[in-house]
């Protein structure tokens, strides 16, 4: 029903997003985000990581081999091994000139998490956004833009 409008928006926004990363341990959430991204044809390259550790290792690897960092990152907070915040700590320490959009996507309504977000926003030049699950189709277009 909103397809006409969506198309129009996509048309406007569709600067080519080179790469998107989804970091979440919940396969359903990953499935959902991927499905919504593909519906708006946001990017050819969508990478998913089940936790922060694998994500930061992957991003470091692509930095090293020159394939570049993702321009938009969907980041879950509660993950095993390395959670979202731990990932963020290491990510903002990377020597990146570009401004990366990082969408924190969580089902947590713990105010502590929101405080953490405010805190990291101040610490980095990257664009940090905070969204509670579920991500709606209507939101996905807005948050999938180059920062």
């Amino acid at each position: 029903m909103n397809l006409e409008r969506d198309r129009h928006l996509i048309f406007i926004s569709m600067k080519k997003i080179r790469a998107i990363s989804i970091i979440d341990d919940d396969p359903i959430t990953v499935f959902g985000i991927k499905k919504m991204l593909s519906s708006i044809e946001a990017s050819e390259h969508i990478t998913t990581y089940p936790n922060g550790k694998e994500a930061i290792d992957g991003i470091r690897l692509s930095l090293e081999n020159g394939s570049g960092v993702p321009e938009v990152i969907f980041l879950d907070i509660n993950m095993p091994i390395m959670d979202g915040w731990q990932f963020l700590e290491e990510f903002i320490a990377l020597p990146l000139k570009e401004r990366i959009r990082i969408n924190i996507v969580t089902s947590s309504i713990d105010p502590a998490d929101k405080q953490n977000w405010e805190c990291y926003k101040e610490k980095t030049h990257h664009l940090l956004d905070y969204k509670n699950k579920p991500i709606r189709r209507s939101d996905i277009l807005e948050i999938t833009r180059v920062a």
């Binding site: 959902g32 713990d110 699950k133």
Partner: protein, 871 residues
């Protein structure tokens, strides 16, 4: 003039001469004669003119004739005394003067004889001597003795008094040699020998003050007088007197001695002494007075009394001094205390007097000024006044009945107000009181006994004795007394009586009060103590005694804090004590921890209050401590409870967030998948979405199960604990896990003693053991077979089960904070659910235990499970 002729005119003139005068020519014939001459020689009826002297005086001495011829030959004037016997045989004494009679040419033509009848005078003199001798004979009082020496008879006669003076018997016969030998050898004897010799040869009398040695050997002083008696140039003898003047000499000697003594006293006296005439002029001043003001005698003697140096303000007192002199001159004795200046111009008090000196006729002849330095006396008198005052005050204010009595008469002389109070006698009534009417004889004690003690010791008592009141009643008193003697020799007795009934009552009262106070402080639920400046306890109550572990109160004396408490407590306490005593500010309600030597720790609420002495300085402190250890323990329990509660609360909030997160994540998935499903047209995709929805639903159920499990633990905090044999439980778990352990080649090292029991909720212990043993194997290092060691330890009242593995280990720096978090996994293990440790921890804490962990990545981990044995 013609020789041998009578000139009528001359004759007439010569006839009238007032002296017996005769002119005799060279033939010794009378040429002229005065009527006086004729009458004196009784020649009126004889013809004398022309007659020779031999014719007129037939028995004239040849010596006279020679004298006359000598004059005629130019030998000058001669004089002599002659004695004639008249026709009646009466003695007549004549003083003769034969002068040459010159003619006009100066040739001697005759002799002028002048005679003077001195018979009367001679006789008078003899009479006088006789009278004197008579007088002396009779005057025994004057002790004048007489003597006479008859040169013809060689006889010395002493009158009785003379004999008495010589202390010889009355029948003693002296002679001239023995008489002289009575004179004291030396000056006296020589003098008298010479005097007698001179008297006999030259006719000189003597009068000497000489010493005799009497027959009895006494030395006496006499005035020895004597004169020779001649008749017709003939030495007839000596007459003389003795006067015993020994007493006079002695008294004179005494006077001289006294004079000398007086002078030395006058000069060496410590008093200032001066003698003034009646006009106030200094006649004499002693050395003391001069030295005192550094003056010379000439500065004072001859000056007026009021002009002397030592008056401090001469202008003001001059008139006064004049008045004083005048009054003394009038016979009054003037005396007063004055001040004078010494040589340093400093004022010195002097007791000064000015006394008139009277002669025998009671007439004032001079004034004696005396001054006595009373500097010390004034000071002493001041002191005496003060002490007298003090004594008076003491006497009056003393709560002890005191009386002063005459020891010998028993009269009561003085009483104090306490006496009046105790015995009822007023001051006006004491005149009729006698000592023995106050202090009766009793069976036990008689007054005589007291007197005996007093006379021996000077004091008596304290003795318990009865006293009689005015109304006749008696009471027991403690008596003591002291005997004193006044200057006048009067013996006075001070008696002090203390009413024992009152004293005993008060003593009892004080004791009761003391007892009450003691009981009170002993039963206070507080430790009370008094410390001295050195922080030594000098007084403690029962509670403090118990605390210090002493049985007798006196055991605390001389002990210091260091005898009871450990060094740190002693140091802190001493610092507090010093602070209180130095600043004089109390410490109130301070919480202090005191550790005794045995390590027992007590918490006190302590107040320390300085004890301030009369001088305003601290002399110690009073300490009051309340043992609040129980309170503290409860407070700590409460705090622990609060902290547990707040931890639980935190956990609850955390849990709530977890619940919300987990539910939300599932519901979000549902929501998202349903949205996809609604918009999905492709059937295959729809099927896929439904499959995913089912999975999501299963996940939700599992989550709910997990949450249920946690809630169950958290809500059953007070599940009953039981002692459980730990080894048996471990074996059971091992049994259950045997397949899993075998599959992983795991080895279990069980070092738990077989009899070890732990107080636990059995189901929780199962769960805890299962979880830790599973984890130890599950997170094994892929390089080596797992080895799990179980051991037991005791720590702070906990039984500690340690489970050590050789697995992967955990980076505690990174994950320590989240170790027990829900849904936290730290290894890339597909079986990890992130729920086990969370639940385990909840279970351990539900049993009031705790878990600690040590780990090193790559080497392994040790989890220590603390079982709380108490509750």
């Amino acid at each position: 003039m013609l020789r041998g002729t009578q000139d009528s005119l001359d004759n007439n003139l010569i006839k009238q001469l007032p002296y017996a005068t005769a002119f005799i020519n060279s033939d010794l014939e009378v040429v002229h004669a005065s009527d006086r001459w004729i009458s004196e020689f009784d020649l009126e009826e004889k013809e004398v003119i022309g007659k020779t002297l031999r014719q007129i005086f037939p028995d004239i001495r040849n010596s006279w004739k020679k004298d006359l011829k000598k004059v005629l030959k130019g030998g000058g004037k001669t004089t002599d005394i002659e004695c004639f016997l008249d026709q009646n045989g009466q003695e007549h004494w004549f003083n003769w003067t034969n002068s040459p009679w010159h003619d006009q040419k100066g040739a001697i033509i005759g002799v002028i004889i002048q005679t003077e009848d001195i018979t009367n005078e001679i006789f008078d003199s003899a009479k006088l001597e006789k009278l004197e001798i008579l007088l002396n004979d009779k005057s025994e009082i004057s002790r004048i003795g007489s003597w006479q020496f008859d040169a013809v008879k060689k006889e010395l006669i002493w009158c009785d008094i003379t004999k008495e003076i010589h202390e010889v018997p009355l029948d003693y016969k002296p002679n001239i040699e023995t008489a002289i030998s009575f004179y004291k050898e030396g000056y006296s004897r020589n003098t008298i020998a010479m005097a007698v010799d001179q008297a006999m040869v030259e006719g000189k009398p003597w009068n000497e003050k000489l010493q005799l040695v009497t027959a009895k050997g006494n030395e006496i002083w006499v005035i020895a007088a004597g004169k020779p008696i001649f008749k017709d140039d003939k030495f007839l003898g000596l007459i003389g007197t003795f006067q015993d003047i020994t007493n006079d000499i002695i008294s004179q000697r005494k006077n001289e001695e006294q004079e000398r003594l007086f002078q030395s006293i006058f000069n060496s006296s410590y008093q200032f002494t001066g003698i003034l005439d009646l006009d106030g002029t200094f006649l004499q001043i002693n050395e003391t007075a001069l030295d005192f003001a550094d003056l010379k005698e000439k500065d004072v003697v001859g000056k007026k009394f009021w002009d002397a140096y030592w008056w401090p303000i001469p202008d003001m007192i001059r008139d006064g001094l004049k008045t004083v002199v005048k009054a003394a001159a009038g016979g009054e004795i003037m005396r007063s205390e004055i001040v004078v200046l010494d040589k340093n111009q400093e004022i010195v008090p002097v007791d000064f007097s000015l006394k008139p000196i009277f002669d025998k006729k009671k007439k004032v002849t001079s004034l004696l000024a005396e001054g006595r330095m009373i500097k010390e006396m004034v000071v002493a008198r001041e002191k005496l006044k003060v002490s007298e005052k003090k004594f008076r005050a003491l006497f009056e204010l003393s709560p002890i009945a005191i009386n002063l009595s005459d020891y010998d008469t028993g009269e009561i002389l003085e009483i104090n107000s306490a006496f009046t109070e105790a015995l009822g006698f007023g001051n006006e009534e004491i005149t009729n009181l006698k000592y023995n009417s106050l202090v009766p004889n009793t069976k036990n004690l008689k007054l005589n006994q007291i007197k005996e003690i007093l006379e021996k010791e000077g004091t008596f008592g304290p003795l318990e004795h009865e006293l009689i009141r005015k109304d006749g009643s008696t009471f027991k008193a403690s008596l003591s007394g002291s005997l004193v003697e006044t200057k006048k020799g009067k013996r006075l007795l001070w008696t002090a009586a203390q009413d024992l009934t009152e004293v005993k009552r008060k003593e009892k009262q004080i004791n009761e009060e003391k007892q009450l106070l003691r009981t009170l402080i002993d039963n206070l639920p507080l430790n009370v103590y008094i410390k001295d400046l050195e922080s030594r306890k000098v007084l403690v109550n029962k509670a403090e005694m118990d605390y210090c572990g002493i049985k007798q109160h006196d055991d605390i004396i001389g002990k210091s804090d260091s005898d009871f408490y450990d060094d740190t407590s002693v140091k802190i306490s001493r610092e507090e004590d010093l602070q209180v005593m130095n600043t004089l500010t109390p410490i109130l309600g301070k919480e202090t921890i005191n550790i005794k030597k045995d390590g027992k720790l007590t918490t006190f609420l302590t107040s320390k209050i300085p004890l301030i002495g009369e001088d305003g300085e601290a002399k110690g402190l009073i300490g009051i401590s309340m043992d609040i250890s129980d309170l503290k323990r409860k407070e700590k329990e409460l705090q622990d409870l609060i902290s547990v509660t707040s931890v639980q609360n935190k956990q609850l909030i955390n849990f709530a967030h977890i619940v919300s997160h987990n539910l939300r994540s599932h519901s979000a998935n549902f929501s998202m998948l349903l949205e996809f499903l609604v918009n999905e047209t492709d059937e295959t995709e729809k099927e896929n979405l439904v499959k995913m929805l089912t999975e999501a639903s299963d996940n939700l159920l599992e989550t709910l199960d997990n949450l249920n499990e946690v809630v169950a633990i958290s809500t059953n905090v007070n599940l009953e604990k039981k002692p459980v044999n730990l080894l048996k439980k471990i074996s059971a778990v091992e049994q259950n896990l045997s397949a899993f352990l075998k599959k992983n080649n795991a080895q279990i090292l069980n070092e738990i003693p077989s009899d070890t029991k732990v107080n636990v909720v059995p189901a929780y212990l199962d769960s805890i053991l299962m979880n830790f043993m599973t984890n130890a194997v599950k997170y094994k290092d892929p390089q080596r077979d797992p080895v799990v060691k179980l051991s037991l330890d005791l720590c702070d009242g906990y039984k500690v089960l340690s489970i050590t593995d050789n697995g992967l280990g955990i980076d505690l720096d990174k994950y320590g904070a989240k170790l027990y978090g829900m849904y936290k996994t730290f290894h890339d293990n597909p079986d990890a659910r992130g729920i086990g440790l969370y639940i385990t921890k909840n279970q351990v804490e539900a049993m009031n235990g705790k878990i600690t962990v040590s780990s090193e990545p790559g080497k392994g981990s040790t989890f220590n499970i603390h079982f709380n044995e108490k509750n």
